[in-house]
């Protein structure tokens, strides 16, 4: 599972770009932990919520991947390789 998330982070940042991989990994990792702690944060601020958002921590990684694959398939910093027919 951690290996799979590493691949997701690399694709998110853009295959073929090292700075992209670093930034992608940071974004994916931090988003996952934000989702884990989202309810506690909301409770601290004053909005009480008890819907159990922590189960979606894995899901948010893949949701971010799918969003980036739909909007920008080459990743955040990737370069587009032209396809030869």
């Amino acid at each position: 599972m951690p290996g799979l998330k590493a691949f997701v982070a690399a694709v998110f940042g853009g295959i073929g770009s090292i700075p992209g991989a670093v930034i992608g990994a940071f974004i994916i990792g931090i988003s996952e932990d934000i989702v884990k702690g989202l309810e506690a944060m909301l409770n601290m601020v004053g909005i009480s919520s008890n819907i159990g958002l922590a189960t979606f921590s894995d899901a948010v990684t893949f949701a971010l991947l799918i969003i980036i694959l739909v909007v920008k398939p080459t990743g955040l910093f990737g370069e587009k390789a032209t396809e030869k027919v």
Binding site: G52, L65, L69, P73
Partner: protein
Amino acid sequence: MKNVENKRGVIITACIVIFVFLFTLIAEKVAPPSWNMLFMVLKKGSIYVLIAVSMNLLNGFTGLFSLGQAGFMLLGAYTYGIFTIPVEDRASVYQYFDGGLIQFTIPVPLALILSGLVAAFFAFLIGLPVLRLKSDYLAIATLGFAEIIRAIFQWQALGPITNGSNLLRKFPVFNSTIAYFGVVGICVTIILLLINSSYGRAFKAIREDEVAAEAMGINLAKHKMLSFCISSFFAGIGGALLAMYQTSVQAAIFKSAMTYEILLIVVIGGIGSISGSIIASFLYIACSEWWLRFLDQETSLAGPQRSRFIVVMAVIFVILLVPMIIRIKKPKGKPVALYGAGAAVCGIVLGWLVYYALTGQTKIPLLRNGFRMVVFSVIIMIIVLFFSQGIMGTKELPDLFKEKKASGDAGKEVAG
């Protein structure tokens, strides 16, 4: 059957299939309880046949490498479970959610079809953004969707419908093997008919070369979506059958490891061969559940024949070891690795004999709980390394029974 060129092969295959059905039908009535393991393997094997054939349709015939089968199986299993639990049992199953939201039941055949339709509907929604991606990205995206679906079904807020992370149980199940065989047989027949139709030829064209297929007028998006939805329909029905086999449904079982098992079965059987998936599925389930069980028990050689047995084994393996080492230096036709492996095995057995001679312990080492999985993994690695086309390659079972023509006829056909 006028246009079928391989009539003999098709008839022989049909006879084999009918024989297998009749055998299970009769054997289940008369068999002693010690045959229970065989029927368990047949039931679970037939469920995996359906799912492997659906994945082969998507992966082997259309060329779309998708890893989302576990998610669609999960959808099918939950749909079947939710809609068929009898109303009087709902309060005890949904005990933390006040009896649950849905308070009616659907008859079993209808629930099976509904589970397939729900899986196909979600496949349609998933396929809209995802099917335009290339092979690796499609695999990761579908894997991601399977994980998202699993997380949604474990969510406590959806508890009144799905029972959160607790089990769904007490729904009606099929008890006899022939019922599983019947459902799986109908589904595999439908897939066979689909592959031998014009849609099937379009799928194979997309697999070979997408650009050429599009140039010939095949609507890529429509055919890819059709293949994806039909494959998920049958994966959903397979998930419902798996729920019946295990008599309980829980989201935590349908991890990506299950998808990798199905992918393994498809690869071992041969990508693009339905009969290969069927044979490989039964072999995989038999090996992992039944045939290798003896490796998990600690055994020791005991009794009066012990010393004779040891001496005979020592002599045999020394005799085998010497030519192996000679052949490594001068291999004759077979690859060197084969002789290397043979020498290694002889060396290991001789090493154990020396250990026995020195200490007098007769327990065969390594045979303890879990060794079965090591041997199983080694067998799979050998198959994938040396038989990379799979058991059947791209051939189907009727092709094995083709009539052999004399070579003179072929020459006359070409000339005339």
